[in-house]
């Protein structure tokens, strides 16, 4: 019951022979808290149990839908995009281009990222291009020229350096960046 009982815990060379140190002395919890979405300087600000995916990191590889409430007035809105009583659908690149032009930029970005390999992803691509956005093939983000600045074309003509507005799908906002743009990287 005295101090000698603590020796197997604190003697480095004896570790893991008598006790499992990850449970006794424990571990640095910073990465564990980080994996839970708890920033170390702001505990308690954000409730993590509401979006808890799984007790283990290994089984937490996808987001789970949290609790939310949809008021009745948000549902069954009649005749959205002239669809009558049904929900609107986008099944034809030819016929649905007019509908897609009614959406704001952010809605187009949402549809582009949300529905891979679909008609609507193609439609939003075409519409964004019409609005002078270009898709960067490696960064997988959309960008457009900053109207405030003229870019400088590099000798050789393969690229230009300038100021662009990017749409960041992680932070869900437009942001301005100086950037070297290679023409073969965009479409």
């Amino acid at each position: 019951y005295g101090l000698k009982a603590l020796l197997p815990l604190i003697r480095r060379e004896d570790q893991s022979t008598e006790y499992d140190p990850s449970m006794t002395l424990g571990i640095d919890l910073t990465p564990v808290l980080h994996s839970l979405g708890i920033p170390s300087n702001q505990q308690g600000r954000h409730r993590v149990l509401e979006t808890f995916q799984s007790p283990w990191v290994e089984t937490s590889r996808s987001e789970v839908e949290p609790r939310f409430f949809v008021p009745e007035s948000f549902k069954k809105i009649p005749n959205v995009l002239q669809a009558g009583n049904r929900s609107p659908v986008f099944n034809s690149v030819q016929q649905d281009l007019a509908k897609i032009s009614l959406f704001q930029d952010e809605t187009l970005f949402y549809l582009f990222y949300k529905h891979p390999g679909s008609v609507v992803q193609e439609l939003t691509y075409l519409e964004l291009r019409k609005r002078n956005w270009r898709y960067h093939k490696t960064l997988k983000v959309w960008l457009t020229k900053d109207p405030m600045m003229e870019p400088v074309v590099a000798p050789g003509g393969a690229s230009e350096r300038g100021s662009y507005v990017f749409f960041d799908p992680q932070r869900w906002e437009k942001c301005q960046r100086d950037f070297v743009l290679f023409y073969n990287a965009i479409m």
């Binding site: 919890l29 564990v32 007790p55």
Partner: protein
């Protein structure tokens, strides 16, 4: 056969839900017809149908292509259960009893499947059933069931809501890991489910807390049973990691739960889980600002929080049993006969195995000791509130002498467990932390232990040190108390023989 008929009805239900949205009129009509045609009108019918639906859901899961949607039937069943709870009129049976019956059948099916299949048991469809049931319930119960048009029905459901979660919690208690090891990982995922745990934590009037403590106790008991000191089976080690993350999440979202239930949780926590113990004891009520415990100028008496007693959800007096009268009588009017009754009443009838740091067996009733110590602390804080601080910050007060006599009359083992029980109350700044800090300091520097002085001092240093050498978090009260021992005037504790006898510890203390 009846079974076949039930299976057909359920199959039709699954097909229907894949074709129409669940608020379509045909869904309501289907349920109405089920009720009118008497599919579920008797208890027997309900049992048969639940059995059939669950069996179909599980076999559909097993037979589905793993890359496809394997839970179609299971999800349909969850939705059916919720529809039945909402759309029926409950005349012969209450809604709660109806739901209890369905859950009992589900429990029996799990039990039978688990027993029959052994290592071949697959927990996933059963997990999905309960998970989807929780999600569906969440969907209909939002904003106090505002989606219910019928006001009568709505108020019934608002009342039933607590029963819903209570019945799920009872189901989980019945299917705990010790009973159904093949369901363990699904079970741990369910008790921490985003549609269950936060709900239970925030039911009005803490209505979910007692059951939650029960479930956490089930988990801790399972871990305690199978944690060997150095030979933790890999799967148990994984269980521990999951438990750790769950407790950290609870400490973040609802520290009050850990604050008010620390006594019960620690009663079932294996001693070797030192970091987890610290996580539970380091919980601080939201919005409380805590002064830096490492500040060398900190004086605990001046810390404002120490005026207030912490809220206690479970009164430890319930665990005193035969010693309740002697303890309460002693606190009013101390006497040697009462003292003897208490100091001799804390032993178990026989040795038990235990998993401690430095010991393998226990012959004292540690739960009883924890209850006595905690109860005395609660009473002391109440006394301070009723009268004055000097009534309890006084080595002649009955509160102090009761604990001192436990040390004086006890052997090393008793002393150790009493000091551990006291250290478990050294938490965030509050009246209990404050008083037990006083008790431990006075125990350390008292001159009337005779030849037992060194042993008592060593046990106190060991107990505090083991809570500070771990990785963080460290309890505010433990750090402050240890600092008080180091700061005390007179000979430094590093000159004490029992510390010099252990050079590694001497080094740590010098560093601190």
């Amino acid at each position: 056969t009846d079974q076949e008929k039930m299976s057909l009805v359920f199959t039709e239900w699954v097909k229907l839900l894949q074709r129409v949205p669940d608020d379509d009129i045909s869904v309501v009509v289907f349920i109405r017809q089920m009720i009118e045609k008497g599919v579920l009108s008797s208890t027997e019918g309900m049992v048969k149908f639940t059995n059939a639906a669950l069996e179909l859901s599980v076999s559909s899961f097993k037979e589905s292509d793993p890359t496809s949607d394997v839970f179609i039937a299971t999800d349909a069943f969850s939705k059916l259960i919720v529809k039945l709870l909402i759309l029926q009129e409950f005349t012969d049976m209450t809604r709660a009893d109806y739901f209890k019956l369905m859950i009992s059948v589900i429990t029996m099916v799990i039990s039978e499947d688990h027993g029959r299949m052994r290592e071949g048991f697959n927990e996933r469809p059963y997990f999905r059933l309960i998970s989807s049931l929780l999600c569906e319930w969440e969907c209909v119960s939002g904003h106090n069931f505002i989606k219910m048009g019928d006001q009568q029905c709505r108020s019934e459901l608002v009342e039933f809501n607590f029963d819903f979660y209570n019945i799920i919690a009872s189901f989980l208690h019945s299917t705990q890991p010790i009973a159904f090891p093949g369901f363990s990982f699904a079970w741990i995922t369910l008790i921490s489910h985003r549609m269950f745990l936060p709900k239970m934590l925030r039911l009005p009037e803490k209505a979910g807390w007692a059951k939650l403590v029960l479930l956490f106790t089930d988990l801790l008991k399972f871990m305690a049973q199978y944690t060997k000191k150095n030979d933790v089976p890999d799967a148990v080690s994984v269980v521990y990691k999951g438990a750790l993350r769950i407790f950290l999440a609870v400490a973040n979202d609802a520290p009050g739960f850990l604050v008010e239930n620390h006594y019960e949780l620690l009663n079932n926590l294996p001693h070797v889980y030192m970091q987890l113990r610290n996580i539970i004891l380091s919980a601080i009520p939201k919005n409380l600002v805590v002064p830096n415990p490492y500040d060398p100028n900190l004086v605990i008496d001046d810390v404002i929080g120490c005026h207030d007693a912490p809220t206690v959800f479970y009164d430890p007096v319930q665990d005193l049993h035969a010693l309740k009268k002697p303890v309460d009588n002693y606190l009013r009017i101390p006497s040697t006969s009462l003292q003897r009754a208490i100091t001799t009443g804390i032993f178990k009838p026989e040795y038990q195995k235990d998993n401690g740091i430095g010991y393998d067996t226990v012959s004292v009733d540690t739960k009883l000791i924890n209850a006595i110590v905690f109860h005395v602390g609660i009473e002391a804080a109440l006394e301070k509130h009723k009268t004055t601080a000097t009534a309890i910050f006084n080595t002649k007060s009955s509160y102090y002498t009761l604990l001192a006599s436990l040390l004086n009359d006890g052997n090393s083992e008793v002393r150790f467990h009493v000091v551990q029980a006291i250290a478990n109350q050294l938490r965030y700044p509050n009246a209990h932390t404050h008083w037990f800090n006083y008790v431990l300091k006075n125990f350390f520097f008292a001159e009337d232990w005779g030849s037992n002085k060194a042993e008592i001092q060593e046990i106190i240093v060991r107990t505090l040190l083991e809570r500070i050498v771990t990785n963080k978090p460290h309890c505010w009260g433990a750090v402050v108390t240890f600092a008080d021992l180091l700061k005390a005037p007179g000979a430094s504790i590093t000159t004490f023989q029992f510390i010099k006898d252990v050079p590694e510890v001497e080094l740590i203390i010098k560093h601190l």
